[in-house]
Amino acid sequence: MPTIADLKLGQSATIIDCSSEAIPFKLLEMGCLPGNKVKLLQVAPFLDPLYLNIDDAFVAIRRDTAALICIEIDPDE
């Protein structure tokens, strides 16, 4: 299953699963919960960290965390 780490720049997706215990709780509290939207806004040099819009919250997380959050990528418009 694809994860946030697989998103391309500007691509949107819906969060499916984020039950891994390695995901910081703070991220869940910011809205990283199943059913919510996520969009990749920017990627820092060396492809890490990722700048995301998760359910209207603007957050940066590292690639290893992003790889734990399963998503369903929205079809291209």
Binding site: A22, P24, A44, R62
Partner: protein, 695 residues
């Protein structure tokens, strides 16, 4: 008699909580430490009416009551302990228009603790620009609270907020959510085991690893009730969060409308520029460069003025008061000592001005994003950048600022290398030596002296990075990464907030560091004005016999120098001279190195005292230093010794207060001792090489 109530300000980071605090209290506030820990405790007074005053506590920013840092623990500990003297009569939750949904998570949690709660929606002036409209009466009804729409920026809504605080008794205590709906069986068990306790409070005590004080522990020994495993509890917490968001989403469906077509937003554009793979770094570099140029150029005029004024004041005191020990103590010990503190005010104020503005704009988080991957290569985190930049002001707050680095190894390395960063206490030492040994002149419009200063900052930063990389290899422990950084929206900085920060930080430097500097200045004066044996007492006879053909002014100078050499402090300096001679220093600089251990800037004060003790002419310190000669007639402060000294100050661990903070933050003497010996060894070695090469 007027009555005083306790008000706690609670809210997510970046909601403008501090602006609301400033608007309520004005300058009527103070910053202290929580007992035993180094988290800032900001409190202030707000007059509500003739008979009612509010004591306002600005709690550290937190996203929820699930604490993941020491700062956040403070919020929970306070809210769960009714016996705490600061326990709020009313809690004010500060949210902001743009992040309203997320802010409500914390609000619903506090509400569930059945504490009287007021909801502040800050930055209300941005509503129209964002196309947001809120149905306040509806929100007040479903959230069971009173809402104040506030713009701390435009100073609107504050009066209404004060009215709401005054009428705090009318607030509803009803919770928003039913905690037991997360897992009814478990919560029923919990409630029947502790029938007198509030359910949500029980849940927090179980899930949070914080210290609730003895009273609470006796009241409910929940340790025996931890029937669920850690991962079960975490799953329940996640369920709780989902439940809360369901509630919030339902509330907002009716209470909030967002018309995106009306939203005017520069955020995306600004993000694209400031976080750009290439331009982002260029911008960061330019920002740093202008800060250093400003610190050096803008503050030189006021500093020269302060320097000259204190020299005059000292002379005036000597001329006006009857001569004697007391006058000398006042003129050469105390006034010279105070002058040595006051002279840093322009630079420290400028530095904090820039740091405060960058924080207010929201730029710092962009730097975290840009730097994370690069810093991680050296065992640091993007979040280490803020401590490292704060380290340019002072290592102490910088080391305290490492607390939001969740990964212990990254945090420890940041703590260990931060003292390499050029702090403001080194600045006066650098400035005076640079102005003595580096020639005037400009290169590409920047002065050589400014470029030297910039290089010293870069060298300090480079050494920090290098040591971090080394430590990263040596230290072998694993820890998980918890890197989550919120990117706040860009804001025009609020002048009032910036001004309060600058005044507060400068004031604390002057009074905290100043106390030590003044005490040491006086101590040095005493040690320099007294000496053992006859050679100190009979200085004037000995010198006069030796130099019969000199005029009286030259003889006086010789006497003063002779006395200093045979004073107590002269003896201390001389005893370490063999050790520091290879670095190009004499015993007077040696004294400075010893006293610097209390705080580096004491070096300048020490030299000021030593040289004003050593002569009676009104030259300012700089002139006196450049007039210093070795036995062979060459200047003491030459290019070689000057650079050696600059490098020594760049690398040596010379600050007791920093060591004390590191001990407290790492909870062991091991790390501060490693810092002390490691850094001082590096400093000695590099200064030695530099002096021997340039000489």
């Amino acid at each position: 008699m007027s009555k005083q109530i306790n008000v706690a300000l609670i809210g997510n980071p970046n909601t403008g909580k501090t602006s609301v605090f400033n608007a309520l209290t004005g300058l009527n506030q103070k910053v202290a430490n929580y007992p035993g820990i180094t988290v800032d405790k900001k409190e202030g007074l707000c007059k509500l009416s003739r008979v009612l005053k509010a004591h306002i506590l600005d709690l550290p920013g937190t996203y929820s009551l699930n604490a993941s840092s020491l700062d956040e623990n403070i919020v929970i500990e306070l809210l769960l302990n009714k016996n705490n003297k600061d326990f709020p009569d009313v809690a004010i939750i500060v949210s902001d228009v743009e992040n309203f949904k997320r802010n409500l998570l914390l609000f619903t949690q506090i509400k569930d603790l059945e504490i009287p709660t007021i909801l502040v929606i800050n930055m209300a002036d941005r509503m129209s620009a964002k196309g947001i409209s809120l149905d306040i009466p509806y929100l007040e009804k479903v959230l069971k609270t009173k809402i104040a729409l506030v713009s701390a920026r435009k100073n609107t809504g504050i009066a209404y907020l004060k009215t709401l605080i005054s009428n705090y008794r009318e607030l509803s205590l009803e919770p928003c959510l039913n905690a037991s709906s997360i897992d009814p069986t478990y919560f029923d068990q919990l409630q029947s085991a502790f029938p007198n306790q509030q359910l949500y409070k029980l849940w927090l005590v179980i899930t949070q690893d914080v210290n609730f004080g003895k009273i609470n522990r006796q009241e409910m020994d929940v340790a025996v009730f931890k029937t669920k495993s850690k991962s079960d509890l975490k799953r329940l917490q996640q369920k709780e969060t989902i439940k809360r968001y369901q509630f919030i989403n339902n509330v907002l469906k009716q209470g909030q409308t967002i018309d995106l077509s009306k939203a005017k937003d520069f955020r995306a554009t600004l993000d694209r520029i400031t976080m750009h793979t290439f331009w982002g770094y260029i911008i960061f570099f330019v920002v740093l460069l202008s800060i250093f140029q400003a610190i050096y150029d803008w503050s030189s005029t006021p500093m020269d003025y302060i320097d000259a004024s204190f020299a005059q004041l000292s002379e005036w005191t000597k001329a006006t008061l009857p001569s004697g020990v007391f006058t000398n103590l006042l003129a050469d010990g105390i006034i010279a000592g105070i002058g040595g503190i006051v002279i840093f005010i322009p630079q420290i104020a400028f530095l904090f001005l820039f740091i405060a503005i960058l924080e207010e704009i929201g730029y710092m988080s962009r730097v975290v994003f840009l730097m994370d991957r690069i810093m991680r290569r050296f065992g640091l985190s993007g979040k280490s950048v803020i401590p490292l930049i704060s380290g340019t002001a002072c290592a102490i707050p910088a080391i305290m600022a490492t607390r939001n680095i969740e990964n212990w190894k990254e945090r420890l390395i940041t703590i260990l290398v931060t003292p390499f960063i050029t702090c403001s206490a080194r600045l006066p030492v650098y400035l005076i030596i640079i102005s003595l040994v580096i020639p005037q002149g400009r290169f590409l419009g920047l002065s050589y002296q400014a470029l030297t200063l910039m290089s010293l900052y870069l060298i300090g930063f480079g050494m920090a990075i290098l040591s971090a990389a080394t430590l990263n290899r040596i230290l072998q422990f694993r820890s998980k990464s918890f890197f989550v950084v919120e990117m706040p929206s860009f804001k025009v900085p609020l002048i009032k907030n910036v001004a309060i920060t600058v005044v507060e930080k400068t004031r604390s430097f002057v009074f905290e560091a100043g106390k030590i500097i003044l005490a040491i200045s006086v101590l040095i004066w005493v040690l320099a004005s007294n000496g053992p044996g006859d050679s100190f007492k009979n200085a004037s006879t000995i010198v006069k016999q030796e130099y019969v053909d000199l005029d009286s002014y030259q003889v006086d100078q010789k006497i003063a120098a002779y006395r200093l050499e045979h004073s107590y402090i002269g003896l201390i300096g001389k005893s370490i001279e063999p050790l520091i001679r290879p670095l190009g220093y004499d015993w007077k600089i040696g004294i400075g190195l010893v006293t610097s251990f209390a705080a580096r800037e004491v070096f300048v004060g020490t030299l000021a005292t030593i040289y004003s003790v050593g002569g009676n002419n009104p030259d300012t310190l700089k002139q006196k230093m450049s007039a210093e000669k070795r036995a062979d007639g060459s200047a003491i402060f030459s290019l070689a010794s000057g650079i050696s000294l600059l490098l020594f100050y760049a690398f040596a661990m010379q600050c007791m207060s920093t060591l004390a903070v590191v001990k407290r933050e790492t909870n062991s003497w091991k790390w501060p001792l490693i810092q002390l010996f490691g850094m001082t060894f590096i400093a000695y070695l590099i200064s030695l090489i530099a002096f021997q090469l340039i000489q």
